[in-house]
C-alpha cells in the first residue's frame, strides 16, 4: 500500500488519529485475498462501489416502481461479473429494495451467498470511508494495489438460517475461531448479519469504533468521553441518515 495513505495532516480540520488508523488498517486488508474474493476482485468491488454513485442505470432503477424490471447496464469493471457489479450497485444505491428472491436468484448466476456477504462487507466499508471524506471535502484515497494469494474459503463451524437472507452465526454460536465476534458479549441482528464471513464483521467493527462508538461503549447513552458530541446528537444524525435511506432497521 502507498505510504502516507490517509494522511490527514493537510486537512483544514483536525481528524482524530484513531480514525486515520482505522481507515488505514482497512485499506491494508482491502487488497489482500479474502474468504471468497481474490485481492484483485476485492479492489474491483471497491472500484465498482465508487462507480455506482454516478451510474445512469441506477438512476433509472431509482425512478422505477419495480427495481428489478428496468433494462440496462451498470458501468463495467474489468475482472468482475455483471452479477457482482449489479450487486455492488444495488447495495450502494438501492439497498432498501433488495429482496430475498434476488439474493437467492443470484446464487444461480455465480454469486454465492458467501460471496455476496463478503462483497457487501467490502462495499460498506469502502463507502463509509469515502462518505467520511466527502462529508469533510477531503479527496478520496486512491485504492490500494491488489495482492496475490489464495482465497481462504473459510466457513464458520456454526451457521443458522433464522434471520435475513443469508446464514449467520447465532448468538450462542460465536465459539472457537469466532469467539471474538460479540464485543463485550453483546450481539444483535446487525452484528450477526455478515458473520458467515467473520472477517467482514471484524472489519466494519474496527471502522465503526473510530467513526462512531465501539460496541463495548454503546451502553453509555449520555456521552462518551472521547467524543465532542453527546449520544443524543449522535443518534439524531444516525436516525436522519437511516430515514433518508428508508432503512426500517
Amino acid at each position: 500500500m502507498q505510504s502516507g495513505a490517509f494522511d490527514y495532516t493537510g486537512s483544514t480540520v483536525a481528524i482524530r488519529a484513531d480514525i486515520a488508523v482505522a481507515h488505514r488498517d482497512f485499506w491494508q486488508k482491502l487488497g489482500r485475498p479474502g474468504s471468497w474474493w481474490t485481492g484483485a476482485e476485492r479492489i474491483a468491488i471497491a472500484k465498482a462501489s465508487r462507480d455506482a454513485l454516478s451510474c445512469g442505470y441506477c438512476r433509472d432503477i431509482s425512478r422505477s416502481l419495480s427495481p428489478y424490471g428496468v433494462k440496462g447496464e451498470h458501468t463495467s469493471v474489468p475482472g468482475l461479473s455483471a452479477t457482482a457489479i449489479d450487486a455492488v450497485h444495488r447495495v450502494v444505491n438501492h439497498a432498501g429494495r433488495i429482496t430475498r428472491s434476488w439474493v437467492e436468484d443470484n446464487t444461480t448466476k455465480w454469486l454465492s451467498k458467501a460471496q455476496y456477504v463478503e462483497l457487501v462487507g467490502i462495499v460498506v466499508c469502502v463507502l463509509s470511508i469515502d462518505e467520511f471524506h466527502r462529508c469533510l471535502d477531503l479527496p478520496l484515497e486512491p485504492l490500494p494495489p491488489a495482492q496475490a494469494g489464495e482465497i481462504t474459503r473459510y466457513v464458520p463451524d456454526v451457521l443458522r438460517d433464522d434471520i435475513g437472507f443469508v446464514p449467520t452465526i447465532p448468538k450462542d454460536g460465536a465459539v472457537g475461531l469466532e469467539h471474538d465476534l460479540w464485543p463485550g458479549g453483546v450481539s444483535a441482528n446487525v452484528l450477526r448479519a455478515l458473520t458467515s464471513v467473520p472477517q467482514a464483521l471484524r472489519d466494519w467493527l474496527a471502522i465503526s469504533a473510530a467513526q462512531y462508538l465501539a460496541v463495548e461503549r454503546m451502553g453509555n447513552m449520555v456521552r462518551d468521553e472521547k467524543r465532542s458530541i453527546d449520544r443524543m446528537q449522535m443518534e439524531l444524525i444516525a436516525a436522519r441518515v437511516s430515514s433518508i435511506n428508508e432503512c426500517f432497521y
Binding site: 460498506v124 433518508i244 426500517f248 432497521y249
Partner: protein, 125 residues
C-alpha cells in the same frame, strides 16, 4: 437509540426531527438543526447543500464536532446498507420504545419494513 438516550438524560426531544423538521431537531439537542442539515445533505449527496451545511456546523460548533458528526454520518451510511442488504429484522420489534417510535414516525412505509414482518398491506389497513 435517540429515544433511549433522551429518556436516559431526561431530555425532552421531538422525534419529528428524524424526518427533517428543523425546529423539531433543535428541541433539546444542541446544534440539532445544523447536525441534521449536515446529515441530510450528506445522505442525499446534495452537493449544493453539503458545503453550506458543513460551514454552518463548523461556525456554530467547531471542528471537533464537525469531524465527529462526519464520522457518525459515514458510519450509518454503512449500517443501513448492512441491515437492508442482508434483510435482517429489528431485534426488539415488540418493545414499547419501538412501538412509540413507529407511532410517531411513518417508517413502516419503508420497503425494508417487510424484513421485520411488516407488510405494506398492514400499513395501509
Amino acid at each position: 437509540m435517540l429515544r433511549v438516550s433522551a429518556k436516559t438524560t431526561g431530555t425532552r426531544i421531538d422525534l419529528k426531527g428524524v424526518m427533517g423538521d428543523e425546529a423539531a431537531a433543535a428541541e433539546g439537542i444542541l446544534f440539532g438543526k445544523e447536525l441534521m442539515r449536515l446529515a441530510e445533505a450528506a445522505a442525499r449527496r446534495d452537493l449544493s447543500a453539503l458545503p453550506k451545511a458543513r460551514r454552518e456546523l463548523l461556525a456554530v460548533a467547531g471542528p471537533e464536532v464537525l469531524v465527529d458528526a462526519a464520522g457518525v454520518i459515514a458510519n450509518f451510511q454503512r449500517m443501513v446498507r448492512i441491515a437492508d442488504s442482508m434483510g435482517i429484522p429489528v431485534d426488539n420489534i415488540g418493545s414499547s420504545v419501538s412501538a412509540e417510535v413507529r407511532g410517531v414516525l411513518p417508517i413502516e412505509r419503508f420497503a425494508s419494513a417487510a424484513n421485520s414482518g411488516i407488510s405494506h398491506e398492514q400499513v395501509h389497513e
